[in-house]
Amino acid sequence: MSYIAGSFATAFGRHEGQDTLGLMTQAATGALADAGLERADIDGIICGYSTTMPHLMLATVFAEHFGIRPRYAAALQLGGATGLAMAATAHFVIQSKAASRLLIVAGENRLSGQTRDSAIQALAQVGHPRYEVPLGTTVPAYYGLIASAYLDGRGAGEADLAELAVAMRSHAVDSPGAHYREPITVEDVLVSRAVAEPLKLLDCCPVSDGGAAMVVTGDQVNDHCLRVLGSGQAHQHQHVSVVPDLLSYGAGPSSRMALDEAGIGLDRIRYAAVYDSFTVTLALLLEEIGLAPPGQAGALARDGHFSPGGAVPLNTHGGLLSYGHCGVAGAMSHMAELQRQLTGRAGARQIPGQPDVALLHGDGGVMSSHTSMVVALP
């Protein structure tokens, strides 16, 4: 049995002068406070990585810096899937009794800590160093390739993808920590400048500074814990050149594994937290998981299906597309929001009729690494 006992995401955006350890510290402080725990209560730590602070041992560097002496420490690297994979690992560690109260933390000054070219080049290295990167690739280009296959294979249009950007932005309007909060329209997305066709600027998440953390425990340490019911993963490829099927990447088996462990069906899910680095990422994941019929993710978004008042509210803080993306911490903001929604602490964004069961899904690389989790009120 394990519980998400606390979580916290800093505001995402431009935080001039902040570094990786500073953002991780802010996030960890917030998550501990949310859990109602002190440093001395923590006996395990799991960190991700930071492109602006590459280090062999980020977990113990941070443990020393922050002031904890854990009996379990690890650093994980699964790209955008890292945050949720860290939560899943904490769940396993607790079941194994190697530790009982773990701090999971990430932060990065990905926007202000490097030039935009450096950020773009660092991220493009998820491509193959010999057969892809030398072609002048970028992460948006990998996803642009995927998007072309999605639009062609599913008979969807660019305006359908745009609906997902519009939905995430509409959620961010009431989300004070979001990187971008001004409402946008489908037309705004369609006329925004081309980045890697068919993807335009507003189909892409921003590069942000920020941090996020959570506390995972074996006992219910407060009255707003969420219980972890199940988790799953799938890792079918690394590079987009070798994807066996450009419409199916592993989100299906990963989410089914999590739902099966939880012993529930998809129809029981009342809130979804799904990785949304690009509009097409979100469309493909929603459809492969089964939260939208093939080709219909955008149409459902337009009809309000994923809005706070809809059937399955999704990323109500604005998601990566509008809350922002600072690397490992990016998708951890989804967990912080989800915990607030399920425990009735989401303030102005609170979903009517407080949802009780949620599915999370993260994706790393180029639709490469998939991690899913089902959580619920205890």
Partner: protein, 116 residues
Amino acid sequence: MTVADWTTGEPQLVVLSCGGCGNVWYFQRPFCPRCGRLDPDEVASAGRGRVVATTVVHRAPSDEWRPLVPYTLVLVDLDEGVRVMAHAASGTAIGDTVGATFEERAGRLVPVFTPA
């Protein structure tokens, strides 16, 4: 093992093939990733195939690529049974039958697919 292909300045795409299990693959390595057999056969591709994905890059990754935007990247399923990433002529679309040519771009040789 260093396969002589466009990545080493040779104007060709090379497919690797396993004499044991018949597996074919593109990213070079000295063993079959399916059965582990060593010493795969190197097969020079005829460079013909079908486009399965396209993108037009407008935001270049670096100064060397900046003057070349917009440029088209594609995934092509070669007749030999592997998928490759490459450049392509402007206007190339999914489903097109294409053939590989090789051009110097951003200071190195790259495969560029054009209508077959």
